[in-house]
Symmetry: C2
Subunit: 138 residues, 2 copies
């Protein structure tokens, strides 16, 4: 079995430790889109210990905070789906009221062709912002 | 402003306390579909205190556990979106490989007309299962 998230990072790595990594997703419609990927090939949140779950969600919330502070979003969307890649990962997506799919999830039909895109700072600015949030979480 | 989740339960209430409620969603394609709804009108997870976030996620994970134990699911999907109803709530959905949208999220185009549906026990069985998980979480 080959798993995409075991064999690759799944995006540009902005932060990583032994347990998890935070990557920036390359999505033309959603430039303010981060993922938290659990390093080990684990299927569901409830396969993690209580301590690991807390750690994972703290990373997700750190991403949410950064998107709220920097992406000028109307709403943040969080999701752990994994139907196609059953290796635990979270999507953290900044949404705008006039983005491609709003108010529907980004996996639904598109709503408009000319769409607004929430922006995020460059990687070299974003990475230390995340690192600061994650060092504060302990 | 009228908020659907301030003015109504959003489903059949299986469990509730001061902070949150767990409801069963009426979705013909997804009978194994629960929601955790924060009681107060709060927008994002990071609007909650650390203690409240933990409490909220414990309820989400209790739902995930019940679905894993009782719904014969291939994968559990978790999502907090709220684009249409920006009042904090989580979707916890049991997925099967031959359900209506698999492997896509349930908000995407349907993939098949004749679909499998993950089942859940009746409310009078489900409610005490959730209560047991939630009393154990403290």
């Amino acid at each position: 079995m080959t798993c995409e998230l075991c064999n690759g990072d799944g995006g540009i790595v902005l932060w990583r430790d032994q347990r998890l990594r935070i990557v920036r997703v390359a999505d033309a419609d959603y430039p303010a889109y981060l993922r938290v990927v659990w390093q080990a090939h684990v299927r569901e949140m409830t396969d993690l210990s209580s301590d690991e779950r807390t750690d994972c969600m703290r990373a997700v919330f750190a991403c949410e905070e950064v998107l709220r502070e920097r992406a000028d979003a109307y709403k943040i969307n969080l999701a752990s789906l994994g139907n196609q890649t059953p290796h635990l990962h979270w999507h953290i997506i900044a949404r705008r009221e006039d983005d491609r799919h709003f108010p529907r999830p980004i996996w639904a039909d598109t709503r408009r062709e000319t769409a607004s895109r929430a922006q995020l700072p460059d990687d070299d600015i974003l990475a230390p912002l995340l690192a600061a949030k994650l060092s504060a979480r302990a």
